[in-house]
Symmetry: C2
Subunit: 192 residues, 2 copies
Amino acid sequence: MELFHRHGYNATGIAAILRQAGVNSGSLYYIFPTKEDLLLALLERYKELLWPLVIQPVFDRVSDPIERVFGVLEGYRQMLLATGCGMGCPIGNLALELSDTHPVARKLIAENFEGWRLAIRGCLDDAADRLPPETDRDHLATFVLTVMEGAMMQAKAHRTLEPFEASVAQLREYFERLLADGREWSTPKPER
Amino acid sequence: MELFHRHGYNATGIAAILRQAGVNSGSLYYIFPTKEDLLLALLERYKELLWPLVIQPVFDRVSDPIERVFGVLEGYRQMLLATGCGMGCPIGNLALELSDTHPVARKLIAENFEGWRLAIRGCLDDAADRLPPETDRDHLATFVLTVMEGAMMQAKAHRTLEPFEASVAQLREYFERLLADGREWSTPKPER
DNA sequence: GTCTATAACTCGATAGAC
DNA sequence: GTCTATCGAGTTATAGAC
């Protein structure tokens, strides 16, 4: 994971994997017959790690569903901070490197995205009564992932947190306007 | 460009480049001493092509500055459509593959992003009087690039236009709310 | 299951003739 | 400037002993 995240799939040689894992080629190939099999296992593992590593820690300390969305984004900001904006999103990196040429990996990457997106959509559903009733929460969840990935990419390219923070600030502006609209639909009620 | 766009930098061998260009290795290496030199020249070329290929055609047929922003995004939708959502953004792909390991390429990629972002910011500046006065147009331009890249990534991973269109629709929602706010600042004036 | 040695191949890059 | 032939290193993957 470390090597694929840092250098990408193609740029990571089996030799480097063996060195870093402290394993000999015979052992690796006994379990993963090809390099791609290892990649697929890794992508399955990322799917398993989504909740325990990315979502649950945020949910444990934040209860407001909207703030949970921004809490997840804050987690990625911390990752950028910890890596000097270098490595970016492990799934996003592989998505762009491999989607065209590795159909099986592409499917697993799409499933990783879908899991992430559904976690966010759950938050939006929990806040449904605070959003304008016509809001497409499914599209909005897609949008949150879009912003996260696009913002990580620019942070990585510029090696600065700034584009990430600017993007999240704009997403926050959008949510504030949605929530303000939502209040217009719910506050008149008690006045009747 | 075609090969790096489709397969990425590392996955494209010099042999494939020679074949596709109909050139022999002696000629290629006479001009580009290393593969990385070719990459850098390609990234410079993308910078040159931004205006004539991406921006100007949209500006020629669309005059409204806000619609110009969405016109540029529509251009990327057309690219997704033409390639079956396969290849994605050529700069974005290279950004995630190489930013960590190729510092000179990373800088040129950042410059490509900056050129794109400034073209969008120009549109936003032209529409400044229609936006809320507190709007950070620089951040908003970053946000538009963020949405474009994040949306392209998801389209590529899912091999569907849907996430791209959903993301652009959400960005449109955001702009509509900003413009509605902007009108609240300008319409009261004639009433004085 | 794990070890070492290595096969089979492709990689980026070069040499030297023309 | 361009050609062909090829180098040496690095690639993924395998063989066969233990």
